[in-house]
């Protein structure tokens, strides 16, 4: 049996299904993210595990114990909120010690554990401060320390990074991963930020409308989205819908009709049936821009938008019937394209993911 298992979990609010999860499991020490837009059911799922919501049906097991209807304080979980939820009337020491006081521990044991925990989050010596004397990032660390100090079975993180500014958020991402690795604690992380999910997790669970859309490693999710929703949510901007009109399997190119008047030659690996409705996901970083024709599958286009990102160029190219986003990693500023330039774009089969509808 897996360390954490959710079976046929269902929760509705006034006949609207908020979460409907058939099966979801976590191994011991694993870092799993629930990723999705707001209202996708990720927070509902987390709250059912935490116990602040009662599921309509289904069961949740942690470490072999069923916790579905267990009182919250007996579940042996840790939870970090978006707003940190530090107790404003207690010192950091008392905040972190809070959970330990409910376990039969001696005073010296509590002192030792709190000190260790504050050291882990880099706030040793701050024991006597109050939460309002700390910055947002520091409060975040205290909240983490408070949730792990009493060694819960599972740590739940409810969008803990989203109240921090961009730079701090990036730094905390590394911190969080380091601390989780060090403690080897099983962690469930809820977020709407695909970068956070991809960079932190061992596995990502993409959710949509209460259901699980796809489960996989970050790389798997990014490279092989199984649905247009996942591709879109993970950040692919070039999603083209069309019908395969004719396929030349020798050249490996299919002509795809986008509308009654326009078509686009698309290279493919897996065979596509003529007449099949398909969606193509073309990764912006896998489109090549060039000035002279190399392959006969190269397509004429015009630069319709250009922005300099420092480490790369971001272009929008106009193919006449559709626009594609291109990420060009060549950083030579002199070789950049300007709006209005005519270019050729090369689509490679590696950079194209075909989804059947």
């Amino acid at each position: 049996m897996p360390f954490v298992e959710i079976r046929r979990l269902k929760k509705s609010f006034r006949n609207v299904v908020a979460a409907d999860i058939d099966q979801l499991s976590m191994e011991e020490g694993e870092f799993v993210s629930l990723l999705g837009p707001s209202g996708c059911g990720k927070t509902t799922t987390l709250r059912c595990i935490a116990g602040s919501l009662e599921p309509d049906s289904g069961s949740i097991f942690v470490k072999g114990r069923e916790i579905t209807h267990m009182p919250i304080h007996k579940r042996r979980l840790g939870l970090v909120f978006q707003d940190y939820a530090l107790f404003p009337h207690m010192t950091l020491f008392d905040n972190v010690a809070y959970g330990l006081r409910y376990q039969n521990r001696t005073k010296s044991e509590i002192r030792k554990k709190v000190t260790e925990s504050l050291e882990l989050v880099g706030l040793a010596g701050f024991e006597d401060r109050y939460p309002h004397q700390l910055s947002g990032g520091q409060q975040q660390r205290v909240a983490f320390a408070r949730s792990v100090v009493y060694e819960p079975d599972v740590l739940l993180l409810d969008e803990p990074l989203s109240n921090l500014d961009f730079k701090l958020r990036k730094a905390m991402r590394f911190e969080l991963k380091r601390m989780q690795r060090q403690l080897k604690i099983t962690t469930l992380f809820v977020t709407h930020d695909q970068q956070e999910a991809l960079s932190l997790s061992d596995r990502v669970v993409v959710m949509n409308e209460g259901r699980v859309e796809q489960v996989g490693t970050p790389n798997d999710i990014y490279e092989n989205p199984l649905s247009v929703f996942v591709a879109d949510f993970i950040g692919s901007t070039n999603i083209i819908k069309g019908v395969a009109a004719s396929c030349d399997s020798d050249r490996g190119v299919c002509t795809v009709r986008l509308s009654s008047s326009s078509a686009l030659p698309i290279p493919f690996r897996e065979p596509i049936n003529v007449g099949e409705e398909v969606s193509f996901i073309i990764k912006p970083e896998k489109i090549d821009l060039r000035k002279t024709r190399k392959l006969d599958t190269d397509i004429h286009a015009k630069i319709s938008g250009a922005s300099y990102l420092g480490s790369a160029f971001n272009y929008e190219v106009d193919l006449g019937n559709l626009r594609l986003e291109v990420l060009d990693s060549q950083t030579d500023y002199k070789k950049r394209y300007e709006i209005g330039d005519s270019v050729l774009i090369a689509l490679s089969p590696d950079g194209i993911k075909i989804l059947r509808r």
């Binding site: 602040s52 909120f81 939820a85 107790f87 404003p88 009337h89 959970g99 309002h132 949730s147």
Partner: protein, 298 residues
């Protein structure tokens, strides 16, 4: 209009906005208080109209007569007792409304608000029917042989306390709901998940964090209790006459000694303000009060 003048007006616009309330307060509160203050220094001669003059005799009479001093003490102590009992009843109700998934919150709110639509006299007569010699409470107690004969609840301290608490519980509960609601749910949930039972959460989190609300609610109820005179007058019997507010009323309308009544009023204002200031200082000097008010002040 030149810019200087416009800026001047902009900066002092608040004065314009403050004028109406300040005028109301001045005309209906400060001026009458001033008149009372002046009256309290006038010598009183029975059967004669009030004259101007200055004497400290009224204050001396109050300070040297143990009858008035114990009256003051009884009034202030009653205030503290009523506030304490009221808190014990009102806090759970407010908590129930503010922080639980209690199904009938709407009905609860109506129940809390409805007493305010009834005049105090009606409420007192209602309690007279319930607590009287032939009232429901006495009949039940006698019927189940808990008492040999009806107990005199009315015209005693007990009657005054019961009605005072009854009148102030809804007020206190309504005053507490806001502050308790302001305590973030995530704090409660965090404490629960750390291992606290519901009772532990109330003791360690909710109660300490609602101290500012408890303090302000208590001050309002306390002020209302020590100023109430209809309740002790109607159901207090001999006890009721010991309440400072009733003494004031008697001097004002029975013996027509407005000067001494004014003196009592002045002394009551000063002592109750002192009690309020001292209590809030004490509560604020306890760490929790300071921290929370600091946090709110930010």
């Amino acid at each position: 209009m030149n810019t200087g003048l416009r800026n001047y007006l902009k900066r002092h616009l608040y004065l314009l906005l403050l004028t109406p309330p300040l005028m109301v307060l001045t005309i209906f509160l400060l001026v009458p208080l001033g008149i009372l203050l002046q009256y309290s220094f006038i010598a009183y001669t029975p059967g004669q109209a009030m004259k101007s003059g200055f004497t400290l005799a009224n204050y001396a009479r109050f300070m040297t007569d143990s009858y008035y001093l114990t009256g003051l003490l009884i009034t202030l102590l009653t205030g503290l007792v009523v506030v304490t009992i009221t808190l014990l009843f009102a806090y759970p109700v407010a908590y129930l409304y503010a922080k639980t998934r209690f199904k009938y919150r709407g009905i609860l709110l109506i129940m809390l608000l409805s007493p305010f639509y009834t005049n105090i006299i009606i409420k007192i007569f209602g309690w007279m029917v319930i607590l009287g010699r032939q009232g429901m409470v006495n009949k039940l107690l006698v019927q189940y042989q808990l008492l040999d004969r009806p107990f005199e609840f009315l015209y005693s301290y007990i009657g005054v306390m019961v009605i005072m608490v009854y009148v102030h519980v809804p007020m206190m509960a309504l005053l507490l709901i806001g502050p308790i609601q302001n305590i973030k749910d995530s704090l409660i949930e965090s404490a629960r998940i750390c291992g606290s039972t519901t009772l532990g959460v109330i003791r360690n989190i909710v109660l300490p964090l609602s101290i500012p609300g408890i303090l302000s609610g208590s001050i309002i109820v306390y002020t209302s209790v020590i100023a109430a005179f209809i309740i002790p007058l109607l159901v207090g019997g001999d006890w009721g006459k010991r309440f400072i507010s009733v003494m004031m009323y008697t001097h004002m309308s029975v013996t027509q000694n407005w000067a001494f009544a004014s003196t009592i009023a002045m002394i009551l204002i000063v002592t109750s303000l002192t009690v309020i200031v001292v209590t809030s200082r004490i509560v604020k000097s306890m760490k929790v009060g300071v921290l929370i008010s600091e946090k709110f002040a930010r």
